[in-house]
């Protein structure tokens, strides 16, 4: 697994971005960019290539699900692995995310081991 991957972490809560960055750094990933909702995530995507998107679901302006749909419908971004990290795990949410093309799904609260496990499944 390459730790030089460029990762975009999207969450409206600075707390969760901080926790996720801490975990990613523990796992050896240091090339991390933050965005506080789907709209700012799209701005970051336009600035340069990303190898992985890790996004919350519930966010103002643009949700993680809407971001996922936009990413999957854009030829430039459609192949970027997309990990949804969210408190929303009711059955309908999971179905919607899978239908929209999510690469994998982590439910909050999560451990560092759970993130490591999902990343190994997505990016090898």
């Amino acid at each position: 697994m390459s730790t030089s991957l460029k990762i975009l972490v999207v969450d409206d809560f600075a707390t969760m971005r901080r926790i996720m960055k801490n975990i990613l750094k523990q796992l050896g990933y240091t090339n991390i960019t933050e965005a506080d909702d789907g709209t700012t995530a799209l701005e970051e995507l336009k600035k340069g290539h990303f190898d992985l998107i890790i996004s919350d679901w519930n966010m103002p302006k643009m949700t993680g699900l809407d971001l996922l749909k936009l990413v999957r419908s854009d030829s430039q971004y459609k192949d970027i692995p997309f990990l949804m990290v969210t408190a929303e795990a009711q059955k309908q949410n999971v179905i919607e995310a899978v239908q929209a093309g999510v690469s994998n799904y982590v439910v909050k609260p999560f451990t560092a081991e759970a993130i490591a496990d999902k990343l190994s499944k997505i990016i090898g």
Binding site: T15, A89, F110
Partner: protein, 153 residues
Amino acid sequence: MDANIINPFIHATSNVLEVMAFVSCKAGPPYLKKDDRAIGDVTGIIGLTGETNGTIALTFDEGSILRVVSNMFGEEISELSHEISDAVGEIINMISGQARREMEENGRVFQASIPSVVSGRGHAITHYSDGPKVVIPFTTEGGEFAIEVCLEF
């Protein structure tokens, strides 16, 4: 209000704090609250809609939330600040999500709003329904906190 409504919040609160902050907490006996005054110094509030409508509030005293957030961040946080408020919003978001999953397994489906946070000693907690306000007190190593559940039934 029956135990099938209260228990998911007790389970979710204990699990979220244990997994995300490595903090063990012990729930005390639930009781009904008559006034709006917060027990804690910082409170997260989230609205629920679905089978019925209501709000959940999570209110921490200073000692308990400083311990929780310090553990979550892996560094000592010594005073209440914007980052504490942000953390409380995320914590109640996670508790709401887990409790709603458990309630869904019991056939009760709810949706949640984006949380809001209020802070300051003696602040008011406004619930947006006329249901009974059930308080579940918790003790931790750092201090005390409580969950308030207020749903129309």
